[in-house]
């Protein structure tokens, strides 16, 4: 792997899982640097990361998934990394997929590679409401981008430096459909790579009932404003 890569792991109250994720990542991808963004965690996540001697950004208040990721990406850009890989701290993603994503980035020449739970495989099920939302945004991105992205809500993504810089210019909720539509509108190439995810066994989802209802509305608004902003900035990288 010739590209300097930083794995950015946003973590909000993931003390029970973060150590295992980091340990596994150390073992299977030692060439990948790691950065945990502890997003206002109050359950000992920063202490768990610190005790492992891992690099971490400690946000004193919870700023949300998208802004926590942006903080990590900002760090990566300041350190001139070529690629940023984002993955979840809850242990659902297999750290072995991190080098796979980077290799796909190099091989395909794409700007963004999404670890997709739905392209080719249908292994991931999840709650019905979430699947309906994922299908809706998959169709919406198809309409707006002109091509289908099967897994718009995947937290496992690899992004080249240029796409990261573009992603820092916008405001995003969860780095899902809204960032993909924006990057696509700006001319960045996005591909998907099949992955298999585990259901989380510890802790709960970051989405409460209220946020699950508000999520589609907010994400749609972010998509519309992100597209408008990208159009106004011009469709060039």
């Amino acid at each position: 792997m010739s590209l300097r890569t930083l794995a950015v792991i946003p973590a909000f109250n993931e003390a029970q899982t973060i150590a295992a994720v980091l340990q596994r990542l150390r073992e299977v991808a030692p060439e990948v640097d790691r950065l945990v963004v502890t997003d206002g965690s109050r359950d000992g996540t920063p202490e768990a990361v610190r005790s492992m001697g891992e690099r971490h950004l400690e946000l004193v208040c919870n700023v949300g998934y998208g802004r926590a990721l942006q903080a990590g990406i900002l760090y990566a850009m300041r350190r001139s990394y070529d690629v940023v890989v984002t993955l979840d701290a809850d242990g659902q993603h297999d750290p072995r997929d991190v080098p796979r994503l980077v290799q796909e980035l190099e091989a395909s020449g794409a700007d963004v590679v999404i670890g997709s739970r739905f392209v080719r495989t249908r292994s991931y099920t999840g709650p019905l409401g979430r699947r309906i939302g994922q299908a809706t945004f998959s169709v919406l991105t198809r309409v707006l981008m002109g091509r289908r992205i099967y897994d718009t809500t995947s937290g496992l993504k690899a992004m080249r430096n240029g796409a990261c810089r573009a992603a820092l210019e916008g405001r995003f909720l969860d780095f899902h459909s809204e960032v993909l539509v924006r990057l696509s509108t700006l001319g960045f190439r996005i591909v998907e790579l099949p992955i298999v995810v585990e259901e989380r066994t510890v802790g709960g989802s970051m989405y409460s009932f209220v946020s699950a209802v508000a999520y589609p509305v907010k994400t749609t608004l972010f998509i519309i404003t992100g597209m408008l902003d990208a159009w106004l900035r011009g469709r060039t990288k």
Binding site: R4, D33, L57, L59, A71
Partner: protein
């Protein structure tokens, strides 16, 4: 509107403006918000105190009676102020988030400067 009504509204307007000035003097209200409330209150007081003006505004707004026109204007002002406050809240939230990010990045910079290893170290070895 009756003379009694006009006098009551004007007295209330004067008291309200005095209250706004007191809040501003105490540092509890920014000048820009104070200006917004004072200008709005003065406009209402003038509108109520000058009957021909109120009649013209009522007619221009398509209302049948002055009270309807005044209610519509008050409602418009409230909506405007709420939007303005939403904008200000968003601005404050953005600043807070940026500060939190900057603080965390600065702290990590400091740690990396003083402690040699956190996670993998290729970033530091290749940094200029």
């Amino acid at each position: 509107m009756s003379l009694q009504g006009v006098i009551i509204i004007d007295v209330l307007a004067v008291l309200f403006i005095a209250g706004i000035l007191f809040l501003m003097r105490s540092g509890w209200l920014y000048a820009s918000y104070a200006a917004l409330w004072i200008v709005s209150t003065l406009a209402l007081a003038i509108l109520v105190s000058v009957p021909p003006l109120l009649t013209r505004v009522t007619s221009a707004l398509g209302a049948e009676i002055p009270v309807s026109a005044l209610t519509l204007l008050a409602f418009a002002l409230i909506v405007l102020v709420l939007v303005l406050f939403s904008v200000k809240l968003t601005e404050l939230h953005e600043r807070q988030t940026s500060l939190i990010q900057a603080l965390a990045l600065q702290a990590l910079d400091d740690r990396e400067r003083h402690a040699p290893v956190e996670g993998n170290d290729s970033a530091r070895t290749s940094r200029p």
